[in-house]
C-alpha cells in the first residue's frame, strides 16, 4: 500500500509534466489541424533557457530560491514563447493553405533543425543542475517504508493545477478563448466577424510554448539533467497523451498526460523499467481500438 501510494505520487508528478506539453499539441491541432512535431523541441529549448537563466542569476549573485525560481519561470516563458511565435511565423504560416502534409513535413524538419541547433550551440553533453529544492513532507513512516512527497513534486503538481485552472478559464471565459474556439470551428467565418485569425493562431503557439517552458523548467529541476535530445521522447509521450485523451480536447490532454505518467510509473514500479514505454504505447493502442477519438475526444466531424 505504501509503495503504491509512493508510485501514485511519482506518477502524478510525471503525468503533470506530460500534460503541460500535451496541451501544446492539442491546442495547435484544434486550431489548424496540424501536429506540431517541433513542440517537443520547444519544451527542450524551454529547459535550456531555464538553465541559462539559472546560471546567469547565480553569476549575478542572486540566490534567494523563491525569487530565483520566479525569475527563471518568467524568463523561460517569455523567451520560449518568442521561439514558439517565430517558428509559427517562419515555418508554418507561409504554408497555410498549402496541401495538408506540407506543414507536417516542415514540422518534422523544424524539429530536427532545433535539435541540431541546440546540439551545436550548447554541446552534445548532458547539462547537470544540482538539486535546488530539497526535502519533502513525510506522509507515512512505517518501520522502514516511507511515503514521501518532495517539495519539488509539490511545486510541480501545484503549478500544473494552477496553470490548468487559469487556462480553462482563459479558453472558456475570455474573449481570446472565444476567438480561438471560433477559429477552430470556422476560420473564414471568424475572420469575417473581424477576428484576426493569424494573430489568434500565433497566440495559440505562444500559449503552447509558455506551458512547454513551464514543463521544461519543472523537468530540469526534477531530474537535474538535460540534453538536446530530451525533447524527442518527451514530445512523443506528450503527443501520445494528447491522442489518448482525445486530440483537440484540453481536459483530454491533461487526463491523457496523467494516464501516461501513471502507466509508466506503475509499470516501472511493479514490472520492469525497460518496458515502461512499451506499456504506455500498448495502452494507447488498446484505447484507440475501442475509442478511436480518445478518452474525451469528440467523434470526428466532417469539416467542410
Amino acid at each position: 500500500m505504501e509503495y503504491f501510494l509512493q508510485q501514485l505520487i511519482n506518477g502524478i508528478t510525471l503525468g503533470s509534466i506530460y500534460g503541460l506539453i500535451a496541451i501544446g499539441y492539442t491546442m495547435v491541432y484544434g486550431i489548424i489541424g496540424m501536429i506540431n512535431f517541433a513542440h517537443g523541441e520547444i519544451f527542450m529549448i524551454g529547459s535550456f533557457i531555464a538553465l541559462t537563466a539559472f546560471l546567469a542569476l547565480a553569476a549575478l549573485g542572486i540566490t534567494f530560491l523563491p525569487l530565483v525560481l520566479l525569475i527563471i519561470l518568467i524568463v523561460a516563458m517569455v523567451f520560449t514563447a518568442l521561439w514558439g511565435w517565430s517558428i509559427e511565423r517562419v515555418a508554418y504560416r507561409p504554408l497555410r493553405g498549402s496541401f495538408r502534409l506540407a506543414p507536417l513535413i516542415t514540422a518534422i524538419g523544424m524539429s530536427i533543425f532545433l535539435q541540431n541547433f541546440v546540439q551545436v550551440t550548447q554541446g552534445a553533453r548532458v547539462k547537470p543542475l544540482p538539486p535546488q529544492v530539497t526535502g519533502g513532507i513525510t506522509l507515512i513512516d512505517q518501520g522502514g517504508t516511507v511515503v514521501q512527497i518532495s517539495y519539488m513534486q509539490l511545486i510541480i503538481i501545484a503549478t500544473t493545477t494552477v496553470l490548468m485552472i487559469g487556462f480553462s478559464f482563459l479558453i472558456s471565459r475570455t474573449s481570446l478563448g472565444r476567438q480561438q474556439r471560433a477559429c477552430e470551428q470556422d476560420q473564414k467565418m471568424a475572420s469575417l466577424l473581424g477576428v484576426n485569425v493569424d494573430r489568434t493562431i500565433s497566440l495559440t503557439f505562444v500559449m503552447g510554448a509558455c506551458l512547454a517552458a513551464v514543463a521544461g523548467l519543472m523537468y530540469l529541476l526534477y531530474y537535474g539533467v538535460i540534453d538536446f535530445y530530451i525533447g524527442f521522447l518527451a514530445g512523443v509521450k506528450a503527443f501520445t497523451a494528447a491522442v489518448l485523451g482525445g486530440i483537440g480536447s484540453l481536459p483530454g490532454a491533461m487526463l491523457g498526460g496523467l494516464a501516461i505518467g501513471l502507466i509508466e510509473t506503475f509499470w516501472s514500479g511493479y514490472f520492469s523499467v525497460e518496458y515502461k514505454d512499451v506499456a504506455a504505447f500498448s495502452i494507447l493502442v488498446i484505447v484507440l481500438i475501442f475509442m478511436p477519438s480518445g478518452l474525451l475526444g469528440r467523434p470526428e466531424v466532417e469539416k467542410v
Partner: protein
Amino acid sequence: MSATTSAWMLDPVLKVEHLTMRFGGLTAIDNLSFEVGRGHITALIGPNGAGKTTVFNCVTGFYKPTEGRISLRRGRGIDDAAVEELTKSGQQFGNVANGSVYLLERMPDFKITEVAGVARTFQNIRLFGGMTVLENLLVAQHNRLMRASGFTFAGLLGLPGYRRAAEAAKDNAITWLKHTNLLDRADDPAADLPYGAQRRLEIARAMCTGPALLCLDEPAAGLNPRESAELNTLLRYIRDEHDVSVLLIEHDMGVVMEISDHIIVLDYGKKISDGTAAEVRNDPKVIAAYLGVDDEEVDAVEEDLAAGLPHATSPSTTTQAQESRS
C-alpha cells in the same frame, strides 16, 4: 432605368465602380457599377449564376476583384472627389470631410468587418455550431472586448474596465436575442436551433459587429411564410432603428418586392436593370432574363414598348426557353 438622379445616388453608403472579376477565362462580373443608398434596403437579384454572390464576395473581401473600386463611405454627403483623392494616395482607408472612406478592394477580410464595418451572412448557414447562442454573439464583439481586456491580461485578472466592457457586450447580445426571439435559447449550442432560428441568429451575429452595411445572402431561403414575414420586420427594424444599410441577395420575390427601396438586377455578370421595385418589375429586360427569352425577342419587346404597342409574349417560346435554362 431612369436618367434622373435617384435617391440612392445622392448619398451612397457603398459605391461599386467598374467592378470586374475573372476566374481564369471566365468573367463572372463584367464592368458592374451600382450604388447602395444610405439607410436603404437594396436587393441584388438575378437568375442563378448571374454573379450575385461573387459581388458579395468582392464587397466582403472574400475575393480580390480583378478590376474596379468598391468604396464604403461612413458619414453623410461624402463627395466623389474625396474618394478619388484617397484612391490616388494609395491608402486603404482614411478620413475625409464629413466622415471616412474605406476602399474595400484593398483591405483584408477581417479589416473590412473590424475597421470598415461591413458584416455578412452566407447562403449556407455558418454559425459556430459548438458554441452557445450567446457566445456566437459575443465572438462578433470581440474587437471591443480585446481592446478593453488589454489583450487578455486584464481579462484574466478581471479588472473593472474589462468587466464593464464584458457587461456591455452581453447587454448588446441580449438586446439582439430579444429582437430575434432567441432569448430563451441563449445557452444552447447554436447547432441545436431549428433552421429558421439559425438564420435569425446569423443576422443577429452580423449586427453585433456594429456594421454600417449589412450584406445578407439569401436570408429568406428555406423559411416558411410566417418566418419570412418576421424576417421582413427584422430587416425593417435594422434599417429604421439602427440606421444600418442593408444589401441583400434574394430569390423570394415576395420579400424583395415588399421591403426593397432599390433593386439591382444582374444577368451574366452585367447589370440589366436598376431602380425601385415598381420600375424593375416592369422592365422588359428583367422579364426576359427571368423568363429566358432570346435577345432578339428582347429587342422586339423593347421596340414594341417604345412604339406603345400592346405586347403579348408567345407562350410556346417562353416555355421552351425556360426549359433550356433550367
